[in-house]
Symmetry: none
Subunit: 255 residues, 2 copies
């Protein structure tokens, strides 16, 4: 079954412009072109679009989606399971907002004061939700619910100074990683410095201050498409390179 632009747009609830834009940026190419140059979408493209719409619903930017779905190691079933978990998390956030607005209504009806902090408690979670969208799901699967909640708790209690320091470290990691890749040696000084910066960054979120945990997360970086895509923006292969650097740094290279 093949669809034209208009037909697929109607089927999926997007616009024709969206599909042409996705073609233009290489996110979703038509299966084939007709003799006249019309885009025609087949079953593979239909499934691909469904995945894309899930990622979009979860707020992932299009460039990242592109890298994820185009990865040779992309696992559709695994991705669907991840979508499900993140949609559930998104619903929990929405539940918090609904609880907050109900609390606000109740307070107003009874003439009871709500603290300013209470008024924004649910919106404040957005910061964590965005963090969650970037990393939470994978860490949750690998290291369990408790660790992620502890990371979020840490974030909630973090001062702006600490948050900014973590952000700066995050950027430093990327910069150091870029420089280290020029040398090509994951065991070299530059790469080891990137691994150390990464450890410092990690300490903002994690209690697992062990080499094992650090190394395990590093392995996750190439296993999961989103981490891979995030680091590979520095340079293709950066995620793999960082993993190697961290394995050497933690002494876990040969285990």
């Amino acid at each position: 079954m093949e669809y034209t632009v208009h037909e697929l747009a109607r089927l999926a609830g997007v616009t024709s412009r969206t599909l042409r834009y996705y073609d233009e940026i290489g996110l979703l190419k038509p299966g084939r072109l007709s003799e006249s140059g019309y885009r025609l979408y087949g079953p593979r493209e239909v499934d691909r679009l469904q995945q894309i719409l899930f990622y979009r619903e979860l707020g992932v930017d299009l460039e990242t989606i592109k890298q994820i779905v185009h990865s040779p190691s992309f696992d559709e079933l695994k991705a669907l399971r991840q979508h499900r978990e993140q949609l559930l998390e998104k619903r929990r956030h929405l539940d918090a907002l609904i609880a907050n607005v109900e609390k606000t209504i109740g307070a107003k009806e009874r003439g009871i004061m709500m603290s300013d902090k209470e008024k924004f408690a649910a919106f404040k979670e957005r910061l964590m939700e965005e963090n969650e969208q970037k990393y939470g799901e994978e860490i949750r699967q690998k290291y369990g619910e408790e660790q992620v909640n502890r990371s979020n708790e840490k974030l909630r209690n973090m001062t702006k100074e600490q948050f900014d320091e973590a952000e700066k470290l995050s950027k430093d990691v990327l910069e150091a990683l870029k420089e280290a890749m020029l040398s090509g040696d994951p065991g070299g000084e530059a790469a080891q410095r990137a691994a150390d910066l990464h450890r410092q960054w990690l300490s903002f979120w994690w209690d697992h201050d062990s080499k094992e945990a650090h190394a395990g997360l590093a392995r996750l970086y190439v296993e999961d498409e989103r981490f891979k895509a995030y680091y590979d923006r520095v340079h293709p292969g950066a995620a793999e390179f960082l993993k190697e650097a961290i394995l050497i740094y933690t002494g876990m290279k040969d285990r």
Copy 2:
């Protein structure tokens, strides 16, 4: 209790840039300025920001939010109740997406085919949600919660043929309006035909099959900037002209 930009940004989980931008566009002005020109936000602004964040969460554009919260008839408690309803609706949409991804997972695991329509069923609702975001809030405040929900219910139950017919009627209205304006006479045959086409179009969305409701909506067309802008694209003054035509058509001209 007064907050600086930075303090309020942290409290609410937004950025300082966001607050300055909201000041710039007149959406959220600080309560007062310090001697040095620093923005200071008081309790009224805190409550206003909470409302704004609810609207933003619901995807309402900032210009619309501005018009709503600055309206003399703005009712905070009523707005909070509406937020609650719409957040619940948003959760239902999310529930549908979660059910859809679970269905997709189940189908893949069992090697069962899902129809292309099923794959996008939950995303298709986005069309209605966006319609809601564009017009629902205003119509809701003007004509109440129930009418908007009935419009959405009608849309949800509409066949593709009916939707297309409504779309075609929408275009017919614009075409007829364009022709009628050439005559310049809102009471003339051409203008009255445009008013009748509009009534036919309206019947797809509304239960209020009364002249009063039709006339009231017509008045809204020139009072509200978005409706005005939409019709004035045909020709400057088209919204006013259509209002006049509908008032004559419904016999409500002199009331």
